[in-house]
């Protein structure tokens, strides 16, 4: 276990130096939404952190019980609004698993394309906001942020052409996808990816040759392999700590086994390692989209085309857990069906939620400035944490 103490064991008695308790959040420029960290400081050094969540709770699981299988996928995307495609896919995947509904090969490939594009868009936002946390909205961080947002816009343009929406798509439906790619979209997609590939090199040149960036990230917020496994962090955090675990290879879904996903791993476990993992994931996602576009089979896009009413899709009684690799890690959906058009019970497993649990273990001992760097490197989306 880690040397530092978790929330339950920190005694805030007089420790020989003067301590200051400071609220960081829920309204704070680096709160990434509404996160409240109660920091106990000795000078600039954080000695304890109490993470408070729940400010964005919207009863998602209860809401799922009141909406039909046709209606909910659009709402599911609101759990993780930065990575809406994968959130939808988790729900739709659970329904298909419980209902034993087949998905045509073309739809599976389309899901891969959208999932990977979404990962790129999500990582773009992460890179921008993280650098802004470290560099300030009135400094170099804002420059990277605007660059990254510029690239994210290109992906959102693709999604807009595909679905008509830019943030929450409603692209997936039970049994396949709702839309097929329009004419010329594949070409537009390839051009966009070429632009992004080139600009990734620019970011890396701008950040990795910058001594200030390295000094802010290397050796900061180290998550040891043991701690990562104990807490159950997922996604880039886990892979940044030396665990080669990715659901796209560990438990392939939606035909991911066709592409031979290469899982990037870094062993240092610090912010810089997580940055390296995500930068490698950018490139891997770009490769996957190209591969999926190359191998896109002909055929139907859904096994249940033309849903006539919102209550039409019913699945048999049963339960199941489907999990996918979202941009932030394992997104899971546990579904209990009772034979009706609505789920009996739904449970979300948000990647950000379990990733956030690592904060009280790694933050103590760091300076205030590192708190925001570490928080940013965890990449929490509070829609997914609080649900």
């Amino acid at each position: 276990m880690a040397e530092t103490l978790a929330r339950s064991t920190v005694e805030l008695g007089y420790g020989g130096s003067e301590r200051l308790t400071m609220n960081m959040g829920p309204q704070h420029p680096s709160a990434h939404g509404v996160f409240r960290a109660i920091l106990t400081l000795e000078g600039e050094t954080v000695v304890a952190v109490d993470a408070v969540i729940g400010y964005l709770h919207r009863c998602h699981e209860k809401l799922a019980e009141t909406l039909t299988y046709v209606q909910y996928p659009t709402i599911a995307s609101k759990t993780d609004y930065v990575s809406a495609m994968t959130a939808e896919l988790a729900y739709v995947g659970a329904v298909e698993l419980v209902g034993k509904i087949d998905v045509p090969k073309r739809a599976q490939y389309l899901r891969v394309i959208c999932g990977e594009l979404q990962r790129i868009a999500s990582h773009c936002l992460w890179l921008g906001t993280w650098c802004m946390d470290m560099g300030g909205a009135l400094g170099g961080g804002a420059t990277i942020f605007l660059y990254a947002i510029r690239e994210r816009e290109l992906i959102l343009d693709l999604f807009e052409t595909l679905t008509g929406a830019r943030l929450l798509y409603g692209f997936h439906q039970v049994g396949g996808t709702r839309y097929d790619i329009p004419a010329g979209w594949a070409q537009q997609c390839r051009e966009t990816l070429a632009v992004i590939t080139q600009r990734l090199g620019e970011y890396e040149a701008m950040l990795e040759d910058n001594a200030f960036f390295l000094v802010r990230t290397q050796g900061v917020g180290v998550i040891s392999r043991e701690l990562a496994e104990d807490i159950g962090v997922a996604g880039p955090l886990l892979r940044g700590s030396g665990v080669a675990y990715d659901l796209r290879t560990a438990a392939p879904y939606s035909s991911y086994e066709d592409f031979g996903v290469r899982v990037p791993v870094e062993s240092a476990g610090d912010c810089y390692a997580r940055y390296r993992v995500r930068m490698a994931e950018f490139r891997e996602s770009i490769r996957l989209v190209h591969a999926a576009l190359d191998g896109l089979p002909e055929g139907p896009i859904s096994s249940r085309p033309g849903v006539k009413s919102v209550g039409q899709v019913r699945i048999a009684k049963g339960e199941g857990y489907s999990r996918i690799e979202g941009a932030r890690g394992e997104v899971g959906c546990y579904l209990v069906a009772d034979g009706g058009p609505k789920p009996y019970r739904l449970k979300w497993r948000g990647a950000s939620f379990s990733n956030l649990a690592v904060l009280p273990h790694i933050i103590p001992g760091h300076k205030i400035a590192d708190v925001v760097a570490i928080m940013g490197s965890v990449d929490p989306v509070f829609g997914e944490v609080d649900r």
């Binding site: 600039e44 300030g136 200030f212």
Partner: protein, 327 residues
């Protein structure tokens, strides 16, 4: 006669400075926007030229809020205490030969001494706000400004030694043959160190740990609103321009340039050079991430301060051997 004359010149310079500060913000915003592939302020007036006026008006019209638990006297005084030294530094800066408030024979010393007084205002603001973010920021301010004033002063003393005078106009005239920024090795190194120390003394990214809006929201000025906020902002930019002016005077030959015998052309050259220094600083600002407080202190005490001291020593030897650098 002389008092009235100086008062008049002082009044003009004060207004020129305030006008410049207002428009330098626009320059910086436009410059940053270009760096970030944006357009920047565009809608207020032709091509956004009235944006600073609109900003100033907005701040004047805003409600002035004093937190109930603030230390009212200190809180209300702080913006003024902060602003005065920031404006006062322009007193000894000549824009062109004979164009300036007072060309003191201890001009550089006056500038350095007065500009380091701003820390008092910063600390008052941070303390008087009775806010934890502001308090931490004030603590950082004291740390940082004390650390960086020393290398700043030492780097600025290299041209002083080379020219053999503390008087701005003498220093500028000494650069008639060769700008000190181009003086082999000593001058070049001193200029680079001066720029770094300038960044820190002005609290700009990567050294803006006082403001650090991603950590401390807005630092010492988090509780300030309306005109008090505007005064702090004004002071900060005035300090920034003042330091850019000093850089242009000490290292870039001030008003020297083709046709600079005419005071107005000289003043134009001077402003151009000062804006060049300002834009370099801005360029750095918009490309770096902020560094951490302990790194900032380490950089100052372990690297910059010894380096500037050694440089000053070497300059002393050079001057002793070759005599002051004459124009």
């Amino acid at each position: 006669m002389t008092i009235a004359y100086h008062a008049l010149v002082g009044f003009i310079v004060l207004n020129v400075v305030i006008g410049m500060v207002t428009y330098v913000t626009l320059l910086e915003r436009k410059f940053a926007a270009r760096m970030q592939s944006r357009i920047g302020p565009y809608y207020v007036g032709p091509r956004g030229l009235l944006q600073p006026i609109a900003d100033a008006l907005k701040l004047m019209l805003k409600e002035d809020i004093v937190p109930t638990s603030a230390d009212r006297w200190i809180y209300n005084l702080a913006p003024i205490v902060f602003l005065i030294p920031c404006i006062l530094i322009f007193a000894t800066l000549p824009f062109a030969p004979g164009l300036g408030v007072a060309d003191l024979n201890i001009g550089v010393l006056f500038f350095l001494a007065v500009s380091s007084l701003e820390i008092v205002g910063l600390f008052m603001g941070g303390w008087g706000s009775n806010n934890k973010y502001a308090l931490l920021s004030a603590m950082r301010a004291v740390n940082q400004i004390i650390s960086y004033d020393l290398p700043f002063v030492f780097a600025a003393f290299v041209p002083v030694l080379l020219a053999g005078s503390l008087q701005m106009s003498v220093i500028v005239e000494a650069q008639r043959g060769l700008w000190f920024a181009a003086y082999p090795i000593i001058g070049q190194l001193a200029f680079v160190m001066f720029l770094v120390a300038t960044l820190a003394a002005e609290n700009r990214v990567p050294f803006d740990i006082l403001e650090a809006e991603s950590e401390l929201v807005a630092g010492f000025r988090v509780e300030y609103s309306g005109m008090k906020f505007a005064l702090i902002q004004l002071g900060e930019y005035a300090h920034m321009i003042g330091t850019s002016f000093l850089g242009a005077l000490l290292f870039l030959g001030g008003w020297l340039g083709p046709g600079s015998d005419t005071p107005l052309v000289g003043a134009l050259w001077f402003l151009l050079k000062a804006m060049l220094v300002f834009l370099v600083v801005t360029w750095v600002r918009w490309s770096f991430v902020r560094i951490r407080v302990d790194h900032i202190l380490a950089l100052s005490w372990k690297l910059l301060l010894p380096a500037t001291l050694v440089l000053l020593l070497i300059t002393g030897f050079v001057v002793a051997v070759r005599g002051p650098h004459a124009g």
